[in-house]
Symmetry: C2
Subunit: 110 residues, 2 copies
DNA sequence: AGTATTAATTCTACAATGTAGAATATATCC
DNA sequence: GGATATATTCTACATTGTAGAATTAATACT
């Protein structure tokens, strides 16, 4: 049995973005989704590096190349979350929630 | 304005543990609280290193030395979360939740 | 064909955080 | 003082976070 791993803070956001974006998930859209929802500023480098690392850990998978992008530019590289990726996300979210449960209301945390 | 920072995954757990433990928060109890609630295995090194780093970022504060520990052993070093620490926690939790919101039910994540 | 324009990804580099385990310190008791 | 108990500090390295410049690939235009 491989030791259970947990997602880093940013890795978590990236995987969540992939899940929400579904079919339309690729570097640029992941970045804007995170910016849009969290309001935080995110560099391309951060996103692509993280996507690569997640892929080499098999938490994410990519299918490259797009048929015909009607307008110029490099082809997109689409990503999707693997089953293992979803598991890692669940595990991570579970530990966060088990620790936060209770104090959230006491300290009126979100 | 200093750029908004976010807590790392483990830093988050440690701060949460401090909040729950209140008056009784110190290295050893933080470790066991995290183990107990999340079921994950946690080394002392991880906890103390993180606590130190959080302190140097002023997200946490420590008051050292205990009056009379009725039974032998080195004195405890107690920790508490600063206002900035609570803020960082809120910010971090907010971005996690804003990204997870919606998919949690769709993917039956915790 | 050659060049400009657009869209997106890859590379490079370094900072911050995660993690373990041995070593060390401090206190009590006999 | 030596044994025992309790807790923290140190050392070292692996993984994750983050930014921005450079590069690649495609289309459109002249």
């Amino acid at each position: 049995m491989g030791r259970e791993k947990y997602l880093g803070e940013f890795e978590f956001l990236v995987i969540a973005a992939l899940l929400r974006l579904g079919k339309n998930a690729y570097g640029v859209s992941v970045r804007s989704e995170i910016k849009k929802r969290t309001g935080r500023q995110v560099s391309f480098g951060a996103v692509y590096t993280t996507l690569d690392r997640l892929e080499s850990k098999s938490l994410v998978r990519s299918r490259s190349g797009e048929a015909t992008p009607s307008r110029g530019g490099r082809p997109k590289k689409h990503f999707e979350v693997t089953a293992r990726g979803v598991d890692a996300m669940k595990r991570t979210l579970e530990s966060v929630q088990s620790m936060v449960d209770g104090i959230d209301t006491a300290w009126n945390l979100p």
